[in-house]
């Protein structure tokens, strides 16, 4: 409650400040002159006069009847983020962007208008220049390797942010149902830059910066850890010199009294970021060409971790004959992620867990057992282990459009998105010897390549007819096909003297060097293949340019749908009414533009397992034989009814511009009812197999989005504008069939599906504090009675991961040639569950401990929430260790100064004699300040997971998660 008050106070202050500014301004200047207003009323992106990209076409923003937000390329590139999608944070109401972590290349978790998926991926559909691109966040998982480092490869990181002209975010059914079975979680349309200005122009820019963690993990010292161990030892009734072998350590108590290695500090450094871009723009009457060449090296604050991207894009357009436009786009990029282990896999994660500060930098060798008594030092691992992923990606598109008549045109487009992704790991003999001193091979090299080719074509035909001046019709019909094939393999050489060449040339697994055959392993994984075949159409009718009706429909067939549901139909209808065209509104001077719109439609989500519908058999279990006879088993039963998740989405909004553009505002209400939710249900095992993809659930999302843009002050030298957006979402699971909250296969997470509660509900035993006399923890049972026994039957819904509301306040102040920009992002509500802290603050084990453990119970009478130290889980009333209770659950409310930038444009007068059109220098800082009551490391958490269910359900469950990054950069932009 206190937290919320604090936040709303902040918000109130903001509203008040705007109000005051308005009044002050009005008093000072009176009515502004017309010219002044016109310039002021044209914010760069979302002015009503713009033409924006919609699915398979364009439309003037004025006539759009759906809910679409636009983000400009400039907004995308102004921050040095890990990947372009992180820059979407705060830019559009209802688009929740949680930046992954400070790891280089990390992926952000994006949810548009709440959460409506459980086991199907909940991410929006990303479309680059007409092709839904490869966006598998769990690539290579069949190797068990991509996630080996505790980090998900981000397939979007290889897309160069500099290439992006605009991003349109489609939110409601009127906008998304043209994407049919794949539009339900929203669509992100990315349009790349094309040559605009005539003649030859160059844009050159560069940015250099530094990064550091927003907050460092605070662990206790070696000495404190020993003290806690001794305390636990004595609490458990033992006496004498503590014996560390009880928790599996091999070092003796006396040997580690004076060691204190701060492993966290060993892992963290100041990251260096560099970015260079050259843009060439040429245009004449016949053709135009745009080339963007970029190099980016984004070093994180983790030593040895960086994402390097080298990319080039050529976009070519020509008009060979009248009425015909030919466009070709080609991008080629190589993203190299210099990886380090994280989270549970090692590195900083180990510094927070298994690497006790009592361990020395170099492990202690025991000459008797010929083995090491302590683990190998983290920086030794980092220095010796070579680990990187190299992704070469090319996204290509060719399209031709032809105006057959004034009213009729056709358009054909073909695209190819090809990705060659290699994960390369090399551990030399020296490193492996630390783990196993008997190892006498040269080193271990692993190569996990994945190749994904993804192509589509679509053909559309448009017929636009102005029947009379008052009646206009626009229609479009089309057909699209998309097919994606992903192959991967696992190659390992256990006797390799050098890393695998990333091209695979360094060795040939088919013909391995003589005499070493037994050390080679090569295995092909099941290829993933999927396809969509679609037919779609859109009909628009406009009456007197003030009343717009739109009907869209799409039929989608997919390889993923069961035989009984090969095609889905997704219709939508919407209207927009520009009320300000009516004379009775025109009379009101204050209102310049007023539109109301509403729409209803159906869209789907088909982003689930490629082969879930197929019933198949494979050799089963551990052996291909039983009693020497060959055996087979059913891998999956056929599910002929499997189909898309279906979302019926109602949306109604009102858009307004007041006081000649001084205030523009938009308020939208939406109601999304999703049924046939795909759940990877852990069916009752008595059915005979583990889990099963099925359409069983129902989820409801309802919400409000509000956007307010104000020009607070506008004078010749000084301008101040504010953009504010906020979205509130109500989420509820309304059905999970006959199943129980534990029926969803996820595995590592601690959230459950509970009817009547939101997606990602923290389902935990309630913690009742510490017995003041004994220091033992207490719990509540389901009746609210205090008990000393932890029993999972007493779990209940105590929180959930989804925020109640989130939004952004952006202020831009321009004074002469200076521009100051501040973005404040805020997140209200939503819980954070600290899944690793239960091991860092309760039992004393072979794990490092969190500094917050200092407030533990120590003697009778102590009032605290942290129970007494002990070595035995039985003293915590449980038969198993690492028990989940709401003691580790916190409120995730925060606000952060996402960015603060100051730019200076060299005065035109200075440039007049030079060749430069523009020179701009910008200082930018990100995540400078954070306000929160969360006591952990950083409240913005999007943990990396192994599957879509966990990504949907447990995003904010931390587990040794790397903190966010804070950065300072300086950039220079030249145009000539």
């Amino acid at each position: 409650m206190q937290k919320k008050l604090q936040f709303w106070k902040l918000f109130g202050l903001f509203v008040l400040s705007i109000g005051t500014a308005q009044i002050t301004f009005a008093q000072k200047t009176g009515a502004p002159s017309k010219t002044e207003i016109d310039t002021a009323a044209t914010p760069e992106s979302e002015s009503v006069g713009d033409v924006i990209i919609i699915g398979y076409g364009r439309q003037s923003r004025r006539n759009v009847v759906g809910s679409i937000s636009t983000v400009t390329g400039k907004e995308i590139t102004e921050l040095p983020t890990q990947s372009f999608e992180a820059s979407l944070q705060g830019k559009a109401a209802g688009v929740q962007v949680t930046v992954g972590s400070g790891m280089a290349g990390s992926s952000s978790l994006i949810r548009i208008r709440g959460a409506s998926s459980i086991s199907a991926a909940g991410d929006p559909l990303y479309v680059v220049d007409g092709i839904p691109v490869t966006q598998d966040f769990f690539m290579n998982r069949s190797n068990g390797s991509n996630f080996g480092g505790g980090f998900n490869n981000n397939p979007l990181a290889s897309i160069n942010p500099e290439d992006i002209e605009n991003i349109e975010i489609l939110k409601d059914a009127a906008a998304t149902s043209i994407y049919g079975s794949r539009g339900a979680n929203g669509v992100i349309l990315i349009t790349t830059k094309r040559a605009r200005k005539s003649g030859l122009k160059f844009d050159v820019s560069s940015r250099i910066g530094f990064s550091m963690p927003t907050k460092k993990p605070e662990m206790i010292s070696g000495k404190d850890w020993l003290q806690l161990y001794q305390e636990a030892w004595e609490n458990d009734g033992r006496t004498g010199v503590p014996d560390l072998s009880l928790i599996g350590l091999r070092v003796k108590w006396g040997d580690v009294q004076n060691t204190n290695t701060n492993w966290v500090d060993q892992m963290i450094t100041t990251g260096v970021k560099q970015n260079y871009n050259v843009g060439i723009n040429y245009k004449n009457s016949k053709f135009s060409i745009k080339d963007i060449f970029s190099y980016d090296n984004n070093g994180s604050f983790i030593k040895g971790n960086s994402y390097e991207r080298l990319s080039n894009r050529v976009n070519f357009d020509a008009n060979p004959v009248k009425g015909m436009t030919l466009s070709v786009s080609h991008s080629l990029s190589r993203g190299t992620n210099n990886r380090v282990d994280a989270a549970w896999a090692g590195g900083l994660g180990s510094a927070m867990s298994t690497m006790l500060n009592i361990y020395p930098l170099e492990p202690i060798f025991d000459s008797v057992s010929k083995s090491y008594l302590t683990p190998v030092g983290l920086q030794t691992v980092r220095d010796l282990k070579s680990y990187r992923t190299v992704e070469t990606r090319t996204i290509n598109n060719a399209s031709i459009s032809y105006e057959i008549t004034k009213d009729l045109s056709i358009n054909a487009s073909g695209s190819l998105d090809y990705m060659d992704y290699n994960e390369l790991i090399y551990e030399p003999a020296k490193l492996i010897n630390y783990y196993n001193s008997n190892y006498n091979l040269k080193g271990n090299a692993k190569w996990f390549p994945t190749w994904t080719r993804n192509y589509n074509y679509f053909v559309t035909m448009q017929w636009n007819k102005e029947i009379t001046k008052d009646h206009k019709i626009t229609t479009m019909i089309g057909n699209e096909y998309q097919n994606s094939l992903s192959k991967s393999k696992y190659v390992e050489n256990m006797d390799a003297s050098q890393p695998v060449d990333q091209s695979g040339v360094a060795y040939d697994p088919i013909n391995p060097p003589a005499g070493t055959t037994s050390t080679w392993i090569q295995r092909y994984n099941t290829p993933y293949n999927w396809a969509f075949l679609s037919f779609f159409g859109r009909f628009n009718y406009s009456f007197k340019n003030k009343f717009n009706v739109q009907l869209t429909s799409r039929w989608d067939g997919s390889s993923r749908f069961g035989t009984n549901n090969r095609y889905g139909f997704f219709p939508a209808a919407a209207f927009g009414y520009i009320v300000s065209e009516e004379s009775f509104i025109k009379k009101i001077k204050a209102i310049n533009f007023l539109k109301v719109r509403a729409g209803i439609g159906k869209s789907g989500n088909a982003n689930f397992d490629n082969y879930a519908r197929w019933g198949t058999v494979t050799p089963s279990g551990n052996l291909p034989f039983y009693n020497g006879q060959p055996q087979l088993a059913v891998a999956r039963l056929e599910n002929p009814n499997l189909r898309w998740e279906s979302t019926v989405n109602f949306d109604a909004g009102i858009e307004m511009q007041l006081f000649r553009g001084r205030i523009s505002t938009e308020l939208t209400y939406y109601n999304k009812q999703t049924s046939d939710v795909i759940m990877n249900v852990s069916i009752p095992v008595s059915i005979g197999f583990g889990s099963f993809y099925d359409n069983v659930g129902k989820i409801s999302n309802e919400g409000l989005e509000f956007t307010l843009k104000t020009v607070n002050i506008r004078s010749k030298k000084f301008q101040w504008t504010t953009n504010f957006n906020i979205a509130r979402n109500w989420n509820k699971i309304t059905s999970i069939g006959v199943y129980s909250p534990d029926a969803i296969s996820g595995g590592t997470n601690d959230t459950r599906v509970v009817v009547g509660e939101p997606v990602g509900t923290n389902f935990l035993v309630r913690y009742a504090g510490v017995n003041k006399q004994t220091g033992a923890p207490l719990y509540y049972d389901l009746n609210g009675k205090v008990t000393s026994k932890w029993d999972p039957s007493n779990r209940q819904a105590v929180g959930n991961i989804l925020p109640k509301a989130f939004g952004n306040i952006a202020n831009t102040i321009t004074y002469k040639n200076f521009e100051l920009n501040a973005n404040l992002y805020f997140n209200i509500g939503g819980n954070i569950y600290e899944s690793s802290v239960k091991r860092q603050m309760s039992l004393v084990t072979d794990w490092n401990m969190d500094a917050r453990v200092i407030s533990r119970w120590q003697k009778p009478g102590d009032e605290t929430n942290i129970p007494k130290m002990t070595l035995s889980t039985f003293n915590h009333g449980s038969t198993t260790p690492w028990i989940n209770t709401d003691l580790w659950l916190q409120d995730g409310t925060f606000a952060r100064l996402r960015s603060l930038s100051l730019a200076y444009n060299l005065p035109k007068s200075m440039l007049a004699k030079s060749k430069f059109d523009n020179i701009k220098i910008t200082f930018v800082a990100t995540n400078l300040l954070t306000w929160t009551n969360y006591t952990g490391i950083d409240p913005e958490i999007a943990r990396d997971f192994e599957n879509a269910t966990d990504r949907n359900m447990s995003g904010s469950i931390t587990y040794l998660t790397t903190p966010q990054e804070k950065s300072y950069s300086v950039a220079i932009n030249l145009t000539f």
């Binding site: 067939g557 009693n627 087979l632 059913v634 095992v685 008595s686 197999f689 006959v738 999972p792």
Partner: protein, 468 residues
């Protein structure tokens, strides 16, 4: 104007035709991408060989389950072992299994996987061509046998015993006699036993008298295996007349030879195996549930100290010769068995000694041919002891004879997972007040807990713990 319109219309027409034609001709093929490395079911089950392979897939689970895993968990519930150094198993030992226990959860899923795979074979039997009537009978008989064995294992481990309530209406298990993807309700113990008996009676009538002993041995069930399992089922139900009769049928078939060795897990004892989990070497090894848990270093499964103390002075008992006390007399003393030290061996699930013990006890209980009981138990005693001091004489009272039979049963079937079911049978059927390390035979936690995923609106799981 007219020209223009025609032009437009013709294009529109051609385009529309092309679109529709293209769509109709190739739609389904364009979106058909079957999983490349797996065989779709429709193509996988066509011949008798395919069916046999799938049946072997079910035996694979039967083998993994009964190669020691099932026996070990049953012993953990009982009082032959001491408290193990393993969190999951300790919950079993303490009769307080949580629904998150992954060991018992995995065990439960293996039981039903074997049943599902058997049911799947049954569901595809008519899809296969060229199957003779005899072959069809055999396959269906094996399916029913596997199903009955699975259900019998599940109902004894996850539900209170037969006789716990007078009408056996207390909650039992899900009975799966068909392939389904829908959750099933929890049936009563009485209904579960009825299903088991019905399946076994079917098996008994369909299974062959014998299999080719050279290649198949006891790895596949015969009519005698069905009868032997029926003997166990009726014995557990306290229907001693039927139990004795089925045991007698098996014994008198003379298909199984009483062995000289006390260790039926040794090749010399294989002649007694009616149905066994077969190991064919180090790679195709199915006895790990015994060899891994009982043999290495400080094993997970150590003998209960009180039981050891009560037995260790019977120096002439060859069966106890397989046991050894390590660090004897010291604080860290433990008792382990050397019975499972071989690298791999066949594990008998149904064997002749069990039949002799069932017949001996059943005949006394029904007071019918008690002389045969004495002969049976004396055969076992003579094999077990190096002298004749324990031989039972014909003048013995029925109750004293019963005591001898039951005492021998415990030692004879030590570590084979029999003890807990014996305790429950005596508790439920004979109304004895029996305790397993202090917990009454019928307390709520003395059965395994279902994995939490089993809970649905039509299936209530067991209460947790409750044994004090």
């Amino acid at each position: 104007m007219i020209m223009k319109k025609t032009f437009m219309n013709s294009h529109l027409f051609i385009f529309a035709i092309a679109l529709i034609g293209f769509g109709l001709s190739s739609c389904d093929k364009m979106i058909e991408t079957p999983p490349p490395n797996e065989v779709p079911i429709v193509d996988a089950v066509k011949t008798a060989d395919d069916l046999q392979r799938l049946l072997n897939g079910s035996y694979n689970e039967v083998a993994n389950l009964n190669g020691g895993f099932s026996q070990m968990l049953a012993e953990m519930l009982g009082d032959n072992l001491s408290s193990p150094n393993n969190n999951d198993l300790r919950e079993v030992y303490n009769h307080n299994v949580l629904f998150f226990n992954s060991t018992t959860g995995g065990y439960y899923s293996m039981i039903y996987r074997s049943i599902f795979r058997a049911n799947f074979v049954e569901s595809k039997i008519d899809a296969v061509t060229g199957l003779s009537g005899t072959e069809k009978d055999r396959i269906l008989g094996e399916v029913a046998f596997i199903r009955a064995l699975g259900h019998f294992t599940a109902v004894r481990m996850f539900a209170q015993p037969y006789g716990f309530t007078a009408d056996n209406s207390h909650p039992g298990i899900a009975v799966q006699r068909k392939v389904t993807t829908q959750p099933m309700p929890r049936e009563s113990v009485g209904d579960a036993y009825a299903a088991i008996i019905s399946d076994l009676s079917f098996s008994e009538s369909k299974l062959p008298d014998s299999r080719n002993a050279d290649t198949l041995g006891a790895a596949y069930p015969t009519k005698w295996a069905a009868k032997a399992l029926l003997a166990h089922v009726y014995f557990q139900m306290g229907d001693y007349a039927k139990a004795g009769q089925y045991a007698n049928d098996v014994i008198e078939s003379k298909n199984f030879t009483f062995s000289d060795t006390v260790n039926l897990f040794d090749p010399k004892g294989y002649s007694e195996h009616i149905f066994a989990v077969v190991s064919n070497g180090n790679i195709d090894k199915r006895s790990g549930g015994f060899s891994d848990n009982y043999s290495p270093g400080v094993p997970t499964c150590q003998m209960d100290k009180a039981l050891w103390a009560s037995l260790k002075n019977n120096l002439t008992d060859k069966r106890l010769g397989m046991l050894s006390a390590i660090n004897a007399g010291a604080q860290n003393e433990f008792v382990k068995t050397n019975q499972f030290n071989a690298q791999f061996f066949n594990v008998p699930i149904l064997h002749l000694t069990q039949m002799l013990l069932i017949r001996a006890e059943s005949y006394v209980m029904t007071n019918n041919n008690v002389a045969q009981s004495i002969t049976d138990i004396n055969a076992i005693i003579q094999r077990a002891y190096s002298d004749n001091s324990k031989i039972v004489s014909s003048g013995i009272s029925n109750s004293a004879l019963l005591d001898v039979i039951r005492a021998e049963r415990r030692i004879e079937l030590l570590f084979q997972g029999d003890r807990i079911h014996e305790v429950k049978r005596l508790g439920a059927i004979e109304k004895q007040n029996l305790y397993v390390h202090g917990h009454p035979w019928n307390c709520s936690g003395i059965i395994l807990q279902f994995p939490i995923t089993e809970k649905t609106s039509i299936f209530d799981i067991n209460p947790t713990g409750g044994c004090n």
